[in-house]
C-alpha cells in the first residue's frame, strides 16, 4: 500500500460514514427542529472520523459485512461528538472553538448544547437498537457489540475518564498509573470499542480478537500521547483549537509527566506495538498498519 492508496481508502471510508450520518439527520419542520439543526452542526465538524473509519477498516480487514458495521460506526461517532459538545461547555472545559469553528454552545446557547449532547447520545442507541431489531436474525452478535459500546461509553469507560480528568485538573502532576487510567478510559475506551465492536459483528476466531484487542489498546495510547504532543507542538491553523491549553490549565499530560523527548519515544513504542499486533495471516492488516503510522505522524 502506498500513501495515495491509503489516503483514498481513508476518504472512501469517511464518505461512507458521512453519507450515513447525513441519511440519519432529519430536516425537520417539527417545533423541535432546532435540536436536529444543532445535532447536524455538531456532527458536521470536519473531524477525522477516526473511530468510524477504524470500525469500517476492521470490518474490511475481517471480510465482514459493511452494512452491519456502518450503523455502529456512526453510533460511536455520535457518542464521541456528544462528549465533545458537553466537554466544551462553560462548566466543563469552557472552549469556544472546536476544529476552528465555534463550539455548539456558542452557536445554540448552553441549554441547547446540553440537550444536543443528550440527543446525540440517545440517538446513538436509537440507531444501534433499530439496527439490532432489523438484523438480529442474521447477526445476533450485534447485540453484544451494542452492549460493549454502551459499557465503553459509560462510567467504567469514557465518562469515567472524564471524571478523573476533571478531578485531576490543576493538580499538574498525577501518578503515572492514574494518568494511564484516565486516558485509557477517556480516549482509549471508545477507540477500542470501534475496533472490538466491529470485530464482534464480524465474529472472527479468538486469535484474531486477541490481536485486535492488543492493536486497539496500543493505538488508543499512541493517539493520546500524540494529542498531548500536539497541544505543545501543534499549530492553531491546523488543529483548529487553542494550543497550550493543557499546560495553561495545569492539566496532567504525557508531556507534563515525561517531557517531550520521552513522550515521543513512548509514542513510537506504542505505534510499533499496534503494528506488530495485527501482523497475523487471518487479518488483512495493511490499512490498519498504515493507519497507526498515519496517526503517529499527523499534525492535527
Amino acid at each position: 500500500m502506498i500513501d495515495a492508496e491509503f489516503k483514498n481508502k481513508y476518504k472512501e471510508y469517511k464518505k461512507d460514514v458521512e453519507d450515513f450520518i447525513n441519511s440519519t439527520l432529519i430536516v425537520s419542520t417539527l417545533p423541535q427542529k432546532n435540536i436536529y439543526e444543532s445535532q447536524t452542526y455538531s456532527l458536521s465538524n470536519g473531524g477525522k472520523r477516526l473511530r468510524p473509519v477504524l470500525a469500517l477498516a476492521v470490518c474490511e480487514a475481517l471480510k465482514g459485512k459493511k452494512e452491519y458495521v456502518l450503523p455502529f460506526a456512526v453510533a460511536i461517532e455520535k457518542i464521541h461528538t456528544y462528549s465533545l459538545v458537553h466537554d466544551d461547555l462553560p462548566a466543563m472545559d469552557n472552549d469556544d472553538y472546536r476544529r476552528g469553528r465555534l463550539s455548539t454552545h456558542k452557536v445554540y446557547g448552553e441549554a441547547m448544547a446540553i440537550l444536543t449532547g443528550d440527543a446525540l447520545l440517545n440517538s446513538a442507541f436509537e440507531t444501534m437498537s433499530e439496527c439490532c431489531v432489523k438484523y438480529l436474525q442474521d447477526c445476533p452478535h450485534m447485540l453484544q457489540a451494542m452492549s460493549y459500546i454502551a459499557r465503553a461509553a459509560g462510567s467504567e469507560g469514557m465518562i469515567g475518564g472524564q471524571v478523573i480528568d476533571i478531578e485531576s485538573e490543576g493538580m499538574g502532576v498525577i501518578p503515572y498509573e492514574l494518568l494511564k487510567k484516565m486516558h485509557s478510559c477517556k480516549t482509549g475506551a471508545l477507540i477500542k470499542a470501534s475496533v472490538i465492536s466491529s470485530a464482534m459483528i464480524c465474529n472472527p476466531n479468538k486469535n484474531v480478537m486477541c490481536a485486535l484487542d492488543d492493536y486497539s489498546d496500543a493505538l488508543g495510547l499512541a493517539f493520546q500521547i500524540k494529542d498531548d504532543l500536539l497541544d505543545v507542538e501543534g499549530e492553531f491553523d491546523k488543529l483548529g483549537k487553542t494550543i497550550g491549553k493543557d499546560s495553561e490549565n495545569n492539566k496532567p499530560t504525557y508531556v507534563s509527566l515525561f517531557g517531550i523527548e520521552k513522550a515521543r519515544e513512548l509514542l513510537i513504542q506504542a505505534t510499533s506495538i499496534a503494528i506488530n499486533s495485527v501482523k497475523i495471516p487471518e487479518i488483512n492488516s495493511e490499512f490498519l498498519i498504515y493507519l497507526a503510522k498515519y496517526l503517529q505522524e499527523r499534525n492535527k
Copy 2:
C-alpha cells in the same frame, strides 16, 4: 381493591424497583468513584417511581415475567432521573432544589452534574442491552422494547419536548396544539414508554396493546395537567420544590392557557378516559385503574 391494598401494592412495586436500583449501584474504589456517588444521590431522591411502578403494574396485569420487565423499568427511571439532573442545571431551569433536597449540581458542581446525567442515560442503555443479551433467546421482544424506549427518550420524544419547553419559555401563551405536543413529548413519551415497553415484553394481543396505548396517552396527559395545577395550588413542604415557578417564568401551562377550573375539568376527563380504556377482560386492570385515580388526587 381498597385503598390500603393499592398502597401496599404500590409500595411492593416501589421496593422491587429500589432494590434493583441499589443492586446496580456500584460502591466503587475506582478513581472515578464520585460518578457512582453522584448517580446514587440523584437516583435516591424519594420520588414516586411512577414510571417503573407503571411498567411493573402492566407486567402483572398481563401476567408477564417480572424479571424480564424490571431492568427496563429501572432503565426508564434512570432516563427520567438524568433528565431531571440536566433540567435543574443553571443553564436550564436553574433549580437548586428537587423534592426538598439540594439538586445534583448544588452538591457535586455543574461539571459533575452534566457528567452524572450523561452517565445515567448511558447506564440505562447498558442495563437494557445487557438484559437483551441475557434473555434474548427466551424473549426476543425485549429488543423492540429497548428500541421503543430509545425513541421515546430522544428528539422525537422527551428531548424534543424539552426543546419546545425551552424555546417557548417567556412566551406566556402558546397555541394549544404546541402545548399539547410539548407535554406529550416531554412528560408523556416516557410515561407511555413505561406502559408500552412493558407490554411489548409481555407480548399480548393487538386489542390489549391498543387499550394500553389509549391508557398511557390519557394517563400522561392527566399527569401533566395535575403537575401544572400543583404548581399553582401545591405546598412546598409536600412537593419539595418551588411553587409558582411556572408562572414566575411565564411558562405556558394548562392552567395559564385554560385557567384553574377548566384545567381541573380536563384532568378529570383524561383520568376517566384512562380508566375506561383498560376495562377489558384481557387486562387485570384493578391496579391500573386505581393508579389513575391516585394520580388525579395526589398532592405531590
